[in-house]
Structure formats: structure tokens, C-alpha cells
């Protein structure tokens, strides 16, 4: 029941929120997100004792033998935790802001949360697809309505791009459905043995969908523009959680279902990812827009995660899963700070910034910490995942690992450049008027920083979560055939 509650709470409150305005919407959405978090934590504790009690099955479309089949394993639980932790943080951060049509804004946010949770919980392919799209639509509206001046064409491109990709995946799902004698369940999908040639082309149907979502080079061009144009709260959702949907899709629905296909195209997928890592890192160096810089850095990080998934060994998979969580936390932290800067100064162009460290020490310290976590400094949460991913990639192929590891240098280059341009030097006329972090922002960032250090020092809870059922299933499914 907890599993269903996870989806129902944001869904129902989201719909209610549409009818509210201003403060009511804010408060309700915050309460709702906290309630969801509480449920997620309850699910976590239950997961440790009786994980099987978390699955939920009900009849949905008997004609298709599709079921409302929800369940949790380590991977999905971790992403659920990420989602449920992120939303309160986002809501707290923007609590002082007054969005135009607040009811619709918060309602759409909650609906997208419901969609994403559904994606992570669904064990039925059709259900998965439905939630996959459901998560997209509210985000599309959020970006278009509350975004920058170029938001409409940009988000439209984003929408059509991802929509096209997911439709290809739908074709793949339907095809496999008919091979399973008519079942959408994950168990049926994974216990199927498809011929090599089938797996080979099915792989691309799925991969393109997930690659667009992640995004992996060269399917990434929607992403920087969308991040730049979206309201920052939405960008947090997009980059913190939504991109994980693509990675999750690969781990849940691609690798176990099409092991041979994944094996055949492994090198191609890794190659694309590795190209993306270096490519995005290089471009990030050139950016002067804060949001674009983080966007490209995110492409690089996601590229590594994608490469690690396809490297497909214990270490890389554990690394990816841990990193999914940690990257989500870190990047949301970065966006919060960018949101603060943009709110206070009205610009996100680094050329116009500088010297904030002198004016707003709290903000600066937290930005430095989160940036360092983002470049995977040891004892921050970013390190564990990247270490394991690189290591796993290295076990798979030395040269891919060596080339992609150049990114740790390039990441330092662009992140430090950002810190220097934003924080250091003498404050100028614009930045000297900045004020430091206030209540909600501070609270959210402190939570994030705490998680950065705790998980960086003691990543065991996360590693236990993912090394429990999740990877073993995946790896077993892969090596079993």
C-alpha cells in the first residue's frame, strides 16, 4: 500500500492544488511533498525488513493483460528517495517566491512528481510507459509557462524530441509484449529469450528513448537550452530527477530485457557516452551562462553514468546507482544557488558576476562545497559513485576509462573557473548589493550539504541499498544468459 500511496499523494494533492492560489498552493504542496517523503522513508524501513510487502498488483486492462504492478527494489527505492527528498528541498527553496498562477505551478510540479515516482515504481511495461509520458507533460507546461523568453520553442523541441524517442520505445515494448505471449510484467519481459537479431534492433528502439532522456551525445541538444530557459525550480526537477529516468530505464528495462542486444551494442553505447563526456566537458569550459555550464556539466556526468551502465559489472553498476542519487542531490544544490543568484542579481552571466564571496560568505562556502562534490572530491558524495564507475569502466575497457577520466581534469577546469568568476575577486557594482542566503534557501542547502558529507564519509547505506536486490538481479540477468 505504501507504494501506491507514494504515487497517490502527489497525484491527488497535485490535482487539488490546481484549485488553490498563492499561499495555499505553496503550503499544500510542501505538506504533500513532506508526506510523500515520510511515506518513502517508511517504505525504506519496510524494505529492510519485508521488501516483498511493498509490491502491489491490481487488474488494469484485462484485454491486454496489463496490470497496475508496482514494486520496489534497491534501485527504485533509491530513486524514490531521491525524488521525495528533492521535492521538499525545491519547495522550501522557492517558498519565498510568488509564482504567477501559483496553483497551476505547484499542481504541475506535484503531478510531475507523481509521474516520476510512477516511472520508478512500475513493474509493468505499459504502466511504465504511461508514467514516462505523464512525467513529461507537466514539465513541458512548467517550462513553457514560467520559462524564459525563448522557452516556448525550446521546450517544444524538448517535448517533441523526447516524445519521438519514447514512442520508439513503445514500439519496442509492444513487440516484446507479443513475444511474451501477452504479458507486460517485468518478470515476463526479463524471462524472455529473444533472438540475437531481434535484440539487436530492439536495443536501439529502447536506447534512443533513454538516450534522449539522459541525454547521451548526440541526442543532447535539447538539454542545455531547456535548462537555460526553464524556471530554476523546474530545471532542478529536470536535471536532478528526470534525467535519472533515462538511466533507470536502461537499468530496469533495457539491460535485463535485452541482455544480448546490450552486449552487442555495448561498445557503441559506451563510445557515444565517452565522446559525450569529453565533448560536454570541453563545451562547459566555454560557457559564460551559469545554467548552461551546469547543463553541459550534467551531460558529462550523465555520459559517465551511461558508459558505466553499459560497462556492466558490479562496480560500475553500483557506482551508477549511487551516483544517480548523489548527482541528483548535488545538482539540485547547484541549481538552488543559481536560483538565488539569479533572483538577487537578475543575471546568470558569469562575466557580470564576481566577488560574491566577500558579500555572501554562506552562499559562497556552500557553493564551493557543492561544486567540489560535483567534481567528485573524496569524502564528498560525488566521489564514491565516480570512483566505482570509473573503476568498473576500467575493468571493462582500459582506454574508454582512460579517455573518460580526462573529464575529472576538465571538470575541475570548468567548475573552478565558475567559482572564480562568480565568487572571487573584487565585488562589482552589481554583486556588492547581494544579500546572503535566507531561511528556506539556507535550510535546503544545509540539508544538501549534510547529505554530501554524510554520504561521502559513510556511503554504506546507499551501497547496501543498491547492492541488495538491484544489481544482483541485473548482473544475474546478464550473466545468466
Amino acid at each position: 500500500m505504501l507504494t501506491v500511496l507514494l504515487i497517490l499523494i502527489p497525484l491527488v494533492t497535485g490535482l487539488i492544488t490546481f484549485g488553490l492560489s498563492g499561499r495555499g498552493a505553496k503550503v499544500l504542496s510542501l505538506i504533500s511533498s513532506l508526506a510523500t517523503l515520510a511515506v518513502a522513508l517508511a517504505a525504506w524501513s519496510q524494505f529492510r525488513t519485508a521488501p516483498e510487502a511493498l509490491s502491489f498488483t491490481a487488474e488494469w486492462i484485462p484485454q491486454l493483460n496489463s496490470q497496475l504492478n508496482f514494486g520496489l527494489d534497491g534501485l527504485s527505492l533509491m530513486l524514490v528517495l531521491l525524488t521525495t527528498i528533492s521535492f521538499p528541498l525545491i519547495f522550501i527553496t522557492v517558498f519565498s517566491r510568488n509564482y504567477e498562477k501559483a496553483g497551476a505551478f505547484y499542481g504541475l510540479m506535484l503531478l510531475s512528481q507523481a509521474g516520476m515516482l510512477g516511472v520508478f515504481l512500475a513493474y509493468d511495461a505499459l504502466l511504465f510507459y504511461v508514467f514516462w509520458e505523464l512525467a513529461l507533460i507537466p514539465v513541458y507546461f512548467l517550462c513553457s509557462m514560467w520559462g524564459g523568453e525563448k522557452a516556448i520553442p525550446v521546450t517544444f523541441k524538448f517535448f517533441v524530441y523526447t516524445f519521438a524517442g519514447s514512442l520508439l520505445m513503445l514500439v519496442g515494448i509492444i513487440y516484446i509484449y507479443f513475444q511474451t505471449e501477452g504479458s507486460f510484467s517485468w518478470q515476463a519481459f526479463t524471462s524472455l529469450s529473444l533472438s540475437n537479431s531481434e535484440q539487436s534492433w530492439l536495443f536501439w528502439l529502447f536506447f534512443v528513448a533513454f538516450a534522449i532522456k539522459m541525454p547521451v551525445f548526440p541526442f543532447h541538444t535539447w538539454q542545455p537550452d531547456t535548462y537555460e530557459q526553464s524556471p530554476t525550480a523546474v530545471t532542478m526537477v529536470l536535471s536532478g530527477i528526470m534525467v535519472k529516468m533515462g538511466l533507470f530505464g536502461v537499468m530496469r528495462w533495457l539491460m535485463p530485457v535485452l541482455p544480448q542486444g546490450a552486449y552487442m551494442w555495448q561498445e557503441a553505447a559506451i563510445l557515444l557516452s565517452v565522446i559525450g563526456i569529453i565533448y560536454a566537458s570541453c563545451i562547459a569550459i566555454m560557457q559564460s551562462d551559469l545554467k548552461k555550464l551546469i547543463a553541459y556539466s550534467s551531460i558529462a556526468h550523465i555520459g559517465l553514468m551511461s558508459a558505466a551502465i553499459f560497462a556492466n559489472n558490479e562496480q560500475s553498476l553500483a557506482g551508477v546507482q549511487v551516483q544517480m542519487f548523489n548527482h541528483g542531490i548535488n545538482i539540485i544544490g547547484l541549481w538552488i544557488i543559481i536560483e538565488v543568484i539569479e533572483q538577487r542579481l537578475g543575471t546568470k552571466n558569469m562575466q557580470q558576476l564576481g566577488g560574491i564571496a566577500a558579500v555572501a560568505p554562506k552562499l559562497s562556502i556552500l557553493l564551493v562545497i557543492i561544486s567540489l562534490a560535483n567534481i567528485a572530491l573524496p569524502l564528498t558524495n560525488g566521489f564514491i559513485g565516480e570512483f566505482l564507475m570509473f573503476s568498473g569502466l576500467f575493468q571493462h575497457n582500459v582506454w574508454f576509462a582512460a579517455v573518460s577520466a580526462i573529464a575529472i581534469i576538465l571538470a575541475a577546469v570548468y567548475m573552478l573557473r565558475m567559482l572564480q568568476k562568480v565568487l572571487f575577486g573584487e565585488a562589482n557594482a552589481l554583486t556588492s548589493a547581494t544579500t546572503d542566503l535566507k531561511g528556506g534557501e539556507m535550510l535546503a542547502l544545509v540539508c544538501i550539504t549534510a547529505m554530501i558529507f554524510v554520504l561521502g564519509f559513510y556511503p554504506k547505506p546507499l551501497l547496501e541499498l543498491v547492492s541488495g536486490s538491484g544489481i544482483q538481479n541485473t548482473v544475474a540477468a546478464l550473466t545468466g544468459r
Binding site: 486492462i61 484485454q63 513553457s144 513503445l170
Partner: protein
Amino acid sequence: MNALITTAVFGIILMFVGLVVKQRQYIKYVAIAGTVLAFIANLLDAQSGYGVLHGMVEVSSFSVLFNAVAIASTALYFLLCGSSFEKVGEDVADYFALIFFILAGIMLTGAYSNLLMLFLAIEIISIPQYILAGADKKNLKSNEASLKYFLMGSFTTGILLMGIALVYGATGTFDIREMGLGTGELSPLALCGITLLGFSLAFKVSAAPFHFWTPDVYDGSPTVFTAFMATIVKAASFIAFMRLFHVSFSGGNVSGHWQLIIAIITAATLIIGNLTAVFQQSVKRMLAYSSIAQAGFMLFAIVSHNEMANQGLILYSAAYSVATIGVFAILLKLNDYTFDGFNGLARRQPLVAVVCAIFLFSLAGIPLTAGFFAKYFVLSAAIQQGDLLWLVIIGVLCAAVSAYYYFRVIIAMYFKPGEADAQGVTPGFKALLVVAAAIVIVLGIFPNLLLQYL
């Protein structure tokens, strides 16, 4: 059969109502009552059992279900658009009568069991449409639509008849179940006949390259009639198409002979419909092209003859009809039919805009709307059929393209500044819109509510 008789009788009744009732706005209610009675009669059909009447009409669960969808859609159409009939011209009662006659023809498309009945059904559907298209007599566009529709329609009637004649020559029967084309070698006569029948029915469902009439006729006709022609009538044509090809022309090696042609037609329809819709400036004309594009998807159900195709086509008919009628109903309330005419509608009429967005989502095939499952079923049918994956890929890519022009309306409504205001939006109208949207969403979550009756 009861439903057929009821609709035909109500057609006649409405002819006379026009003479008796002088307050034209009340005629609508008679028509609505007619649809209600027809719906009840249809339920009685389901009660009184299924069977074939004189080898001509076959009442089955399929026909009853389709009739129910058609009648319900018509009722919705009357409710949402009925008041716009008065704007077209004087003869309101006659328009309603004609629509009831068309409905009688539609009742036949799901039930014919003889090529003669198919021919009659198509003619009963077509001839009143020629008139409805030209109902706005003083308007040259309406004239043009009518003339084009009429000329091309009768031309296609010739093709249809030639097809029927050739099939008859090959089999010696008009009964769709007795042809037995599957056994033995296929006569070239039958092959040509099937192909010609395919062409003529492709014309009726506006599949490329027989689609040319569609945009012009839909654009030129009075909008209120376009709403009917583009939805329920088109769905009925598809039902006729599918029954003929799945019942008579399947089995043995027959289907192999026409499948490629229909597949090519499907691909062409998808591509032309979607591409051309992208460029339109008028929403009405865009909807005309979108109806071609949607026809492309429905053609998947024809290409793949299996159970899923049947289910899919019924679902598609319902989803497509309701959504398109809804959009047309909203369009009818606007002054400006261009995309710019929708600018800022969300601010002036939030509810209408939301409902319109839901309809458009459904047309684009976004999940949790009926349109998603409609597309889902027809695509699965094609995948189940096998060897059609290339077509399915074209289909989904075109679905992505279709998002472009449907979302243009949404973008106009929500994100563009403007002063679009819908005229005469009454609370009742809003309530009906909400009901329609609810249908779309409920069918989008539980498509089995409809399919369980099949």
C-alpha cells in the same frame, strides 16, 4: 436493426418537425431525443440477440458496440454543436434529418453482410453529405466543397461498383461471408476487384493518394457539419472498410495480395497528412489534415487483421470522434479559426482551454487520454501482424510530428498573449465539455470500459 429503423424514422420525423415547429432552437431537442431513443433501440438490439437478417444485415456485438459509439458521439455532437445549426441556414430541421439519414447509413456500416448493403450504406452516407457540404448556399467555399465532394464521391462510386462487379464475377456472390476467396487460387478478377474496392474505400476514409477531397471539403463546409463529417462518418467508413477486408478478403493467401498496397497507402497517408498539417494557418484546415493523419493510424487496423485491430478501431473511433467533436465545438465558439484566434484563450476561458488541451492530447496520443490507447491498440495490432515494423516506425515518427501541430494550439492558448474569447459559452456547454473530457480521460485510463462489450 431497431437502431437503424429508429434513426431512419427520426430522419423522417425531423423533416416534418421543421414544418411544425417554428422555434428553430427547439428542433435540437427533438434530435437529441432521437439519439437517445436510437441508443435505447440499440440496447434492445443487444437484448434481442444477434443474427443475420435475410443475408443482408448482421447484428453482432461488434455492430451494436459500434452503433453505440456512433450514436453516443452523435448525441454529444448534437449537444455541443446543435445550436450552431441555425447559423448555417434556414432549413435546420432538414439538416438534422439529413444527419439522421447519415446515421442510418452509419448503422449499416457495422452490420452489412452483403456488398449491396455496403454500397447502399456508403451512398446513404455520402449523398446527404454532399448536401450538407453545400448547405451554406451563398458561400462560394461551401459551393466548392459540395461540388468537389460530389464529383469525386460519385467518381469513386464508379470505382467501388467496378470493384464489386469484378469480385462478383470472380465469386458469384455478394455475400461477404460466402465469397470463400481463401480457398484455391485467386482469380485476377478478384484481385482487381479487391484492389478497386480498396481504392474506393480508401477514398472514403481519405487515405492518400485519395485524400485530396478532404482538406478542401472539410474546410469549405460549414464548420458544424465538418465536425460531423470528419468524425463519426469517417469512423463509420473505417468500420465498413475493415469489415469488408477482414471478413471477405482474409483467409488463405488473399490478405497477402492487398496488404502491401494498404501498407503503402497507410505510409503515404501518415506522411502526407502529418507533413501538410504542419504548415496550416487555420485550425479548421489543420483539423482537416489531422483527420487524414488520424486516418493513417486507423489504417493500421485495416492492414493488420486481427482481434486487436477490431478493438483498436472501435476505441479509435470513440476516442477520435469525441476529441475532434470537442475541438470543433470549441472552434465553433471562436470568431477566428486561425491559430492566432486561440491566443490567450487560457486566460479568458480557463476551463475551455483545459478541456481543449485534453482533447488535443488525446489526438496526439498522450497517455491517460483515450487517444493513447487508441493509437496503442492499432500499433500493437500492426506489430502483432508482423512484417510491418517499418510502417509502425513511420507511424510513431509521424505521431511525434503530429504533436507539433496539436501543440501549436496549446501553445497559442496558454503561452501566447491575446484576447481570444469564446462567444456564448454557457455553463451547460462547459458542463458538457467537461463530460466529454471526462470520457476521454476515463477511456484513457480504463479502455476496457468500452472494450469489454466487444
